[in-house]
Symmetry: C2
Amino acid sequence: MPEFLNLLPPDDALNKFLDALPTYVETEKIPTSQAVGRVTAAPVLSPHPLPEFRRSTVDGYAVRAADTHGANQSLPVYLTLRDEVPMGATPDFTVEKAGCALIHTGGMLPPGTDAVVMVEYTQTSRPGEVEILRSVAEGENVIEIGEDVSQGQEVIPQGRRLRAAEIGGLMALGMTEVLVARSPRVGILSSGDEVVPPGQRPAPGQVRDVNTYTLSALVERAGGVPLTYGIIPDTREDMEAAVAKAKDECELVVVTAGSSASTRDLTAEVMDAQGEPGVLVHGVNVRPGKPTILAVAEERAFIGLPGNPVSALVIAGLFVTPTLRAMLGLPPERLQPTLPAKLTLNLSSKTGREDWIPVQVQPSPAGGYHAEPIFGKSNLIFTLARANGLIRIPADANGLRAGEEVAVRIFDA
Amino acid sequence: MPEFLNLLPPDDALNKFLDALPTYVETEKIPTSQAVGRVTAAPVLSPHPLPEFRRSTVDGYAVRAADTHGANQSLPVYLTLRDEVPMGATPDFTVEKAGCALIHTGGMLPPGTDAVVMVEYTQTSRPGEVEILRSVAEGENVIEIGEDVSQGQEVIPQGRRLRAAEIGGLMALGMTEVLVARSPRVGILSSGDEVVPPGQRPAPGQVRDVNTYTLSALVERAGGVPLTYGIIPDTREDMEAAVAKAKDECELVVVTAGSSASTRDLTAEVMDAQGEPGVLVHGVNVRPGKPTILAVAEERAFIGLPGNPVSALVIAGLFVTPTLRAMLGLPPERLQPTLPAKLTLNLSSKTGREDWIPVQVQPSPAGGYHAEPIFGKSNLIFTLARANGLIRIPADANGLRAGEEVAVRIFDA
């Protein structure tokens, strides 16, 4: 087992861990209407072109473009009104030369026509005749067959988290079911002899379990299914039994170690005993979260988090969320939007260590935003509740200065 | 009813609409463990201080700070080891002058002590005696009673969307239930004679319903409960009956109008007939989405969206999402994180109109990101599926230039 004080930078620690994870993704077919937020397990190919017929994009008159050449306000072209295109049906007529047909947005172009003149550029002075006041080019105001997608085209890649737009696209193609990655089950174990369930009144010296619930919320947001295993007493037998059970039932086992050094060591030993390769990382050069443990054994992943609720939640964002992304088949890179804000205070930091600082971002009277660091010992859960974002002090910096612009990662809200 | 072409800027349109909405929020008490993403309906006050006893933040020795004064590496102070503090229980001993007690992180300070010396700054050369190599101040490495929150303190304000951190905070206080705003029910009606359900093979001239599903996904993300009413035929009777039914069952009724002008007018007329004040906005100076309708009647809200799937989804983000925020009691201001990216193309825009352009953001070989506008007629749903964000061209601009830095609103993923 690596030495506790052999501290890796967080990115290196994560990569070492993810490289050792099995890449196999279990899949399931689910109704598209329930697939928002799920991740595609195979590329989606279009079964037919979209649209399947030439559609008008405007209200107006379907014409042969050639008939409108030279038309303008002072010298209109006169076309014979053939008929009206019914919505949702094939026109049962053909438009001959110098003819036109009334058409609505989304209507199917009648045979013989190749463009649509917007109703704004027409006049109907005599029944059965339409004045065209502007010429159109072939294809103008028309969506061609396959203009959205062609038959057989890959419309959604594998490993894409489905948003509203993709759900709509699948429905447009009639794909009412979709193959997605099964949501990884994440076992959550709390430990600590001082920890009691939230519904219980703690005796003096006891505190209520927080991590089970903050981590369940984080896991759900990240696309996993949290399974909770309660509060495990700080003995080797209890921890071994609980980890073994969770390993059988889950792809990822997360233990928030009791916060004392002996409990943390116990967690690492139990994880290391699960099989090869065992503990890969024990100690990460990040604050908060130095005692983080990352292990892989028998195609299962194990993460040991600090027991302090703030550290546990911040570090879960750095390690549990990317692990779930990998298990779901999502690409490791992720677009990380931030909010630029001016820091209100100097922050010092140790060179070589990455720091994550909770901040409260608020609109600044001077315009823009300012970010106020929320200090507080990492046992104080309301530190994080008072913050609305995090800033990162990279390992190569020794701090940030008041007035400096920082990129705040805003918490989901 | 206001004239169609009396176009308001989107912000003005939204404010006019929200000002007319009833502010009454229905509430319900739910288990805290299921409350992530829900919005508090009342301020949460702490029933007791947190922590309720003085806790150590480190592994070490609980001491009287005064006893350690002057201690350093070359001149240690020697203290008598009294006992070990048990985890999760009150120490049953008192530490007298020149005494100390072994304590673990999270342990309760024994009577008589007021600080903790980290184990790193101690040595135990003789049994029953501890060498203190560094002095500590009173309260050092200790969390005081009420240091996280004091009794009766407002720990979570009303109108806050609960994140993992707040769930943890509630659990730490033993509040296993929480009063939240009931999720508004949103009726979703599609209209258009050419529209068929996704499970059906469209005949020539027909297209599958997309908006019901994209809008359901959006509503769910925004904290509402979507109720779908299917595809309504383009007749006044059918539309009236469907809107009346949805109004009875929902707080907000969203109709995606068939895309032809006559259907849009029908939607506005039916909404206006629902009661006072009726249609407040008909036409917004935004692209896509000019034909947007906003109405209030009998304490219900009504939004008419363009039938084109891209317009419907973009405009729903501008109007449906903020309406749900207001109904949930969330503050109107929202921190909007963005990703800075360089635009790859010139974009022109009409001064006075606000434009929203779908873009695909990708890492740039030169570092940073570039944003490529995804063009496509707004009937093409895969336009949005290919994009991963939106950029806004404000009304007072006549476009954006290639190479300019833009702030991209990244879609949820």
